[in-house]
């Protein structure tokens, strides 16, 4: 059998199906919501050179094609693998993410020869240090404070567990019943991947599989090139700032995206971005340019090594996104959604009809509250909350959605959170007037208000779009600002707070406020009926309709949605006046 077009097509579905099956098993047998609800993991198959053969669909997008460095480093350091080995790795020297993201991988042998690996990276709920929950974020000023570090350790050798190492891990993490269960789930799913690879190799033979893989890579590359070739050649740039909430001294980081299109080649040059610094905002990752390129070229297709062959990334050593160990990296992903937005915004002139305005732009609109409940049990509440997406060339942006780096990440149902944890979610609501105005407005941000029923600690660091909220495009306005507000028990006022491990007494309240999306196009060009609909739905206030859109309403004396109507004359005058003010 050879790599005829038919076998190529069969393997094109068969390889991702293996990664998807690994994902299915992991998700259903895991013990922490970061895996089963947030999908903060990825399952992949790589060859021994670190080429990506397949990765699961769904799951968190910022793990896009990022396992190659782990495998290449492992092969170089470990040198000899035998069947039954299991390797544990989270070291920032190579991984460049927060330490919670734990890679587990197993070697795949065919006829006695090492061919490649199945690997799963998954977010553990705790790895010691400050890492509890979503990760240490701004809390840890170096990796040792952040948590345990594993540097390419064989935790199973030839099928035999290293009980000493496993006991040491178990004793030094806060929720061993959760994380050791997740480790088992990762190993089971990796082993399942090995079994499926064996079946595939025995059916098609190694030579055919390898030949088909090369064909699949080159076809993926060619598909991307076709898309890029349609863009006007040129150099495109965009710059924005992003707050570094973890740093008291360094001010905001600069995000400068430069994109060069030449024929079917694209270069994403991020050398104009800030250097690494002493706060946790650093990382060591190509996720931002990769996700942007994927969104530009082939958003729906499965990913493999060929998907990025036609992309050149310039990201110099020492950039905040290519930081060097031991820079703190606990907040590694915080800024990535805004970097991606900046790359897309740079390309907007070449793709006006295909580029939305900026979305909420920051990771970290999370609920994280932890402590000890009334039964003496340690708990950590976690939920990822959405924000507004940018207005689009033909429609409004979606409200309350997770970032482009997250994907199939689901918030925690109120009923589920309250069943498990000592909190009451008093509100999870769309915030009126939080959408950036535009011909097509942004999506709305959220206010999530939670009352804690026991004393405990909140992680309520401000997100990076607190000072510079998501931008509009083509005359659209910026989206509403995110915030973190606290009302401690006994106090009347709400106070804006920027802190992790923030201690509150019982019966305090916290609001997690996420940003709204930027608007697309001039708000004065928005069809009045759309503004009226927004007023009727309570998405835009009567005042904002007038000041932002120049829409004036009057009451009709009717009830229900028809209680207000547009005042056509007053609207005409108001729009004229707003246009005149612009000069």
């Amino acid at each position: 059998m050879a790599a005829d077009p038919i076998t190529v097509e069969v393997l094109r579905s068969a390889l991702p199906a293996i990664a998807d099956e690994m994902s299915h098993v992991l998700k259903r047998t895991s013990y922490n919501m970061m895996i089963y609800e947030v999908g903060d993991y990825s399952c992949a198959i790589l060859d021994k050179e670190g080429n990506l053969l397949a990765q699961n669909g769904g799951g968190v997008s910022h793990f896009l094609a990022d396992m190659g460095v782990v495998i290449r480093d492992g092969v170089e350091r470990i040198k000899k693998f035998v069947p039954g080995d299991v390797i544990l790795m989270n070291h920032q020297r190579v991984c460049g993410q927060h330490l919670n993201n734990m890679c587990v991988y197993t070697p795949f042998f065919w006829k006695g020869e090492l061919f490649g690996f199945t690997i799963i990276r998954a977010h553990w709920i705790d790895v010691g240090g400050y890492s509890t929950g979503f990760g240490a974020g701004s809390s840890a000023s170096d990796p040792w404070l952040e948590g345990l570090q594993f540097n390419q350790l064989k935790i199973y050798e030839a099928g035999k567990p290293n009980e000493t190492v496993l006991a040491m891990i178990s004793d030094n993490i806060r929720y061993p019943e959760s994380s050791m269960g997740d480790l088992d789930a990762q190993i089971t799913a990796c082993n399942l991947g090995l079994k499926r690879m064996e079946e595939l190799f025995s059916k098609y033979g190694e030579a055919t599989v390898e030949e088909c893989i090369q064909r699949i890579f080159s076809e993926s590359e060619a598909l991307c090139r076709q898309v890029i070739a349609e863009f006007q050649d040129g150099t495109y740039e965009f710059e924005t700032e992003f707050d570094d909430s973890a740093s008291a001294t360094d001010g905001p980081i600069r995000i400068h995206a430069k994109v060069i299109v030449e024929g079917s080649d694209m270069t994403i040059d991020l050398s104009g971005c800030s250097k690494q610094r002493n706060s946790g905002i650093n990382g060591r990752t190509l996720a931002a340019p990769y996700i942007a390129y994927k969104a530009l070229t082939s958003p729906i297709d499965p990913v493999n090594e060929g998907s990025f062959k036609a992309l050149k990334v310039i990201l110099p050593e020492g950039s905040f996104m290519m930081a060097q160990f031991p820079a703190p990296m606990a907040g590694w992903s915080t800024a990535l959604p805004s970097v991606i937005d900046a790359i897309l915004a740079a390309m907007a002139p070449a793709r006006k009809s295909m580029t939305p305005a900026a979305h909420k732009g920051a990771m970290g609109d999370n609920l994280t509250f932890f402590g000890v409940d009334n039964n003496g049990k340690r708990f950590v509440v976690q939920s990822t909350e959405g924000g507004g997406w940018g207005g689009r060339p033909t429609e409004d942006g979606p409200s309350a959605s997770c970032t482009i780096c997250q994907g199939d990440v689901r918030n925690g149902p109120i009923e589920s959170l309250e069943q498990r944890f000592p909190i009451v979610v008093e509100q999870r609501g769309l915030r009126t007037d939080s959408a950036g105005a535009g011909q097509f407005r942004g999506g709305l941000g959220l206010d999530v208000k939670v009352r804690n029923l026991v004393a405990g600690r909140w992680n309520i660091t401000q997100t990076g779009r607190h000072r510079v909220p998501p931008w509009g495009l083509w005359g659209g306005k910026t989206g509403g600002k995110p915030d973190r507000l606290v009302q401690k028990n006994g106090e009347n006022d709400w106070k804006s707070v920027n802190a992790n491990w923030y201690q509150v007494p019982t019966e305090s309240r916290v609001i997690i406020r996420s940003a709204g999306g930027g608007g697309w196009g001039d708000p004065l060009d928005r069809e009045p009926e759309r503004v009226l609909d927004d007023i009727r739905d309570g998405m835009v206030s009567v005042d904002a309709a007038r000041s932002e859109y120049g829409i004036v309403t009057k009451s009709t004396g009717k009830t229900g949605l028809d209680a207000i109507q547009i005042d056509a004359d007053a609207t005409k005058a108001a729009r004229q006046e707003l246009r005149a003010q612009r000069g």
Binding site: P5, I6, E9, V10, R12, S13, A14, E21, H24, V25, R28, T29, S30, Y31, Y36, E37, V60, S61, E177, S178, G181, D184, A185, T188, N191, L192, E219, L223, A295, P299, I300, T384, G386, R392, P398, S399, A400, S401, C402, I404, G407, D408, V409, R410, N411, P413, I414, E415, S416, Q419, V424, V425, E426, Q427, R428, L430, K449, D533, L561, A563
Partner: protein, 683 residues
């Protein structure tokens, strides 16, 4: 005892099957579905089969009205009443974006806009305690706000109502009184399960489609009355059972996915009769193929699904037969993408224009064109000779659109298309078997639909499934299944407790409630006590997990508080499904479930004995596995194969609406009840 009619409305055809369980007489008819006035298609079928409804005992109906009302967005003007602070739970959903890299990703358009959502100032806690009581004044206030919106339909979903419905019931009572003409659904009456977004969506879908579906059912009832039908009208549900019109009208959300259910039930029943309780039901029609697993004679159900797909669909958490579907059918198109890779489907030529060989304007080569080109189907005798196929046109399309571009022969391209389609379908069948811990070698495949018999034996070979069964009336299989379907009602109650601390008295009272409700409902549907059966189960997981496994229990397990026995069963299930378990870990109960079954008499087949020797009607050149050289195959007519007849592959068995393909090594025998059982070679 008497005559029974099943009438199944599908997207393209309306099918009727009639069966008299005293005389054994069987009739069937097919006519085009008439979307603008369904009852017309129904009448056409009744006329064609010459049915006297006045002499019939049951009329089982499978309708598409529920799903169509949602898909066409032609439902009622609906108001949602919800807990203060949770107004936006329905609009926010879970905040996820399954198409991560698609910056234009959009969730399902809500069926209720924000201005039509009213908050009630009340609150239940997660333990069922009232945190903020619902006052009479607040009820009046809500009713006033609702009145201003002039709804046709109202949905009520309060936080934690699954554990204590008091507030929801109070609100519902007031609304039903204040709006006697509106359709009112309370989440508690539809689904007693936690997760507010999914429960709200399910309740809204029910309210949204409720008025139209219940009107339809009333009209159908009247129509049958006018025809002097004296018997029972039963409606197919998504959960694998039928129900009375009364229940269907109150909870139409349970009818949404009834389409594939009949065929799956028939597969289960036929498997049991032939001594094969482990079945993979496989249906392949014009645009899609569907697979579903049946264990110990019982189809598997999922607790819910997403109408319109996971990424962009509306969640409906009402039990549904678990089906995996792929876009591979007779009309699936073979094409070459912009970089020269060969693809099959999911684009389909559908029923119109259909495959190139239909001479109806199709220009793209389809799976049916490939089968015709390879000699696997008989162009001269398609649909029993009602339609003659243009083989030359198929060849030309395969040549021009695929073979020449890829440097293949026409036969290589045709075989390649089938190989790719088989690979896709094999992944779907794997999805319901191997990936759920079931070994396909323990199963038989029951193949239905116009294309089942041609492709199932090839998929079976890939997965080492030892046998494929071709049922009687494979093209009316869904309607056949409707005459083999029991009445079924499902119940769920969230009851989240660790197993160690579980209060089995409380669990028993939940089970008692299910038993009472289920039996009363069945009795109201004229099911005799001897035919009633209530099955209990609990959803269990290891503490810390989110996903649970539904674990069957007996009433005795509960009265004896058999914690260890129940958890051992769960451990075993976990091992089967995921290849691992954790016997040392604590487990917890999440939901208690029950299904109440009302057994019904089932259609049987009595084929005439016409002699047991199989004689081919002709021979034909067919390309099997080698694209360079055809094999001379014996062609048999199914009508002429009597019980006991044996056919050895390579061979082809033709009947009016479908064809079966036997490769070298396959062997078919005809069962006493008429089914063809193919033993797959090469395994």
């Amino acid at each position: 005892m008497g005559a029974h009619v099943a009438l199944d409305i599908g997207g393209t055809f309306t099918d009727l099957v009639y069966f008299n369980d005293e005389t054994g007489e069987m009739r069937h008819a097919k006519s085009s579905t008439t979307p603008e006035e369904f009852t017309l298609g129904i009448q056409n079928c009744l006329d064609k089969a010459n049915i006297d409804l006045g002499a019939c005992e049951t009329f089982v109906h499978g309708a598409t009205i529920a799903i169509n009302t949602l898909i066409e967005q032609s439902g009622a003007k609906t108001v949602l009443v919800t807990t203060k602070g949770a107004r936006d739970a329905y609009l926010i959903g879970r905040g996820n974006r399954p198409e991560a890299y698609n910056v234009f990703f959009k969730r399902a358009t809500p069926l209720v806009r924000r201005g039509m959502i009213i908050e009630a100032d009340e609150r239940m806690g997660a333990q069922g305690q009232s945190i903020l009581p619902l006052s009479e004044a607040e009820i009046a206030n809500v009713c006033k706000q609702v009145a201003a919106l002039e709804p046709e339909s109202i949905a009520v979903c309060f936080l934690h109502s699954y554990i204590d419905p008091t507030h929801e019931q109070m609100m519902g009572q007031a609304l039903r009184k204040a709006f006697p003409n509106a359709y009112v659904s309370l989440s508690y009456e539809i689904l007693r399960q936690y997760r507010e977004y999914e429960r709200t969506s399910t309740t809204i879908v029910n309210s949204y489609i409720g008025p139209r579906v219940s009107t339809y059912l009333k009209r159908l009832e009247q129509r049958l009355e006018a025809k002097k039908f004296p018997g029972t009208l039963l409606i197919m549900q998504s959960n694998g059972g039928v129900t009375s019109v009364g229940v269907a009208g109150r909870a139409p959300v349970g009818l949404m996915e009834s389409g594939p259910v009949g065929g799956i039930n028939a597969s289960a029943e036929i498997g049991l009769r032939l001594g094969f309780p482990q079945v993979i039901a496989f249906d392949m029609g014009g645009t899609t193929a569907k697979a579903s697993v049946i264990r110990d004679g019982k189809p598997s159900t999922a607790e819910g699904y997403y109408v319109g797909g996971y990424a962009e669909g509306h969640p409906v958490m009402s039990p549904v037969i678990d089906v995996v579907e792929v876009g591979a059918g007779g009309g699936s198109i073979g094409w070459i993408d912009s970089v020269g890779a060969m693809k099959v489907g999911p684009k389909s030529a559908g029923a119109s224009p259909g495959p190139v060989c239909y001479r109806a304007g199709g220009t793209e080569p389809t799976i049916t064109d490939a089968n015709l080109t390879l000699g696997r189907i008989n162009g001269a005798n398609f649909l029993g000779g009602d339609m003659s196929l243009d083989k030359e046109a198929s060849r030309a399309a395969l040549k021009g659109k695929l073979a020449d571009k890829l440097g293949l022969s026409v036969e290589e391209a045709a075989l390649g298309m089938l190989k790719i389609a088989i690979a896709h379908m094999t992944l779907a069948v794997r999805g319901v078997s191997i990936e759920r811990g079931y070994d396909p070698r323990d199963f038989v495949m029951v193949a239905s639909g116009g294309n089942g018999g041609l492709h199932a034996p090839l998929i079976a070979r890939e997965l080492s499934i030892p046998r494929v069964i071709l049922p009687v009336l494979p093209a009316h299989f869904s309607a056949v299944g409707m005459l083999m379907t029991d009445i079924r009602h499902d119940y769920v109650q969230t009851h989240a407790r660790s197993m160690a601390e579980a209060d089995f008295e409380a669990i028993r009272s939940i089970c008692d409630m299910f038993l009472k409700d289920g039996k009363e409902l069945l009795a109201s549907e004229s099911v005799a006590p001897a035919q009633q059966q209530v099955n209990l189960s609990v959803d269990i997981r290891y503490v810390g997990q989110e996903f649970y496994l539904n674990t069957p229990i007996s009433y005795e397990d509960i009265t004896k508080a058999d914690r260890d026995g129940i958890r051992r069963r769960f451990d075993a299930l976990h091992l089967r499904h995921y290849g691992q378990n954790a016997e040392h870990r604590p487990v917890e109960i999440v939901n208690i479930r029950a299904n109440a079954i009302g057994e019904r008499a089932k259609m049987e087949f009595h084929p005439p004995a016409v002699g047991t020797t199989a004689t081919p009607s002709t021979t034909r050149d067919v390309f099997l596995t080698d694209a360079t050289k055809p094999t001379r195959c014996a062609i048999y007519q199914r009508d002429a194969l009597a019980p006991g007849a044996i056919v050895k592959g390579p061979a082809i068995i033709e009947e009016s609406a479908t064809t079966a393909l036997l490769l070298e090594g396959d062997e078919a025998t005809v069962a006493p009840t008429g089914e063809i059982i193919i033993t797959i070679g090469g395994n």
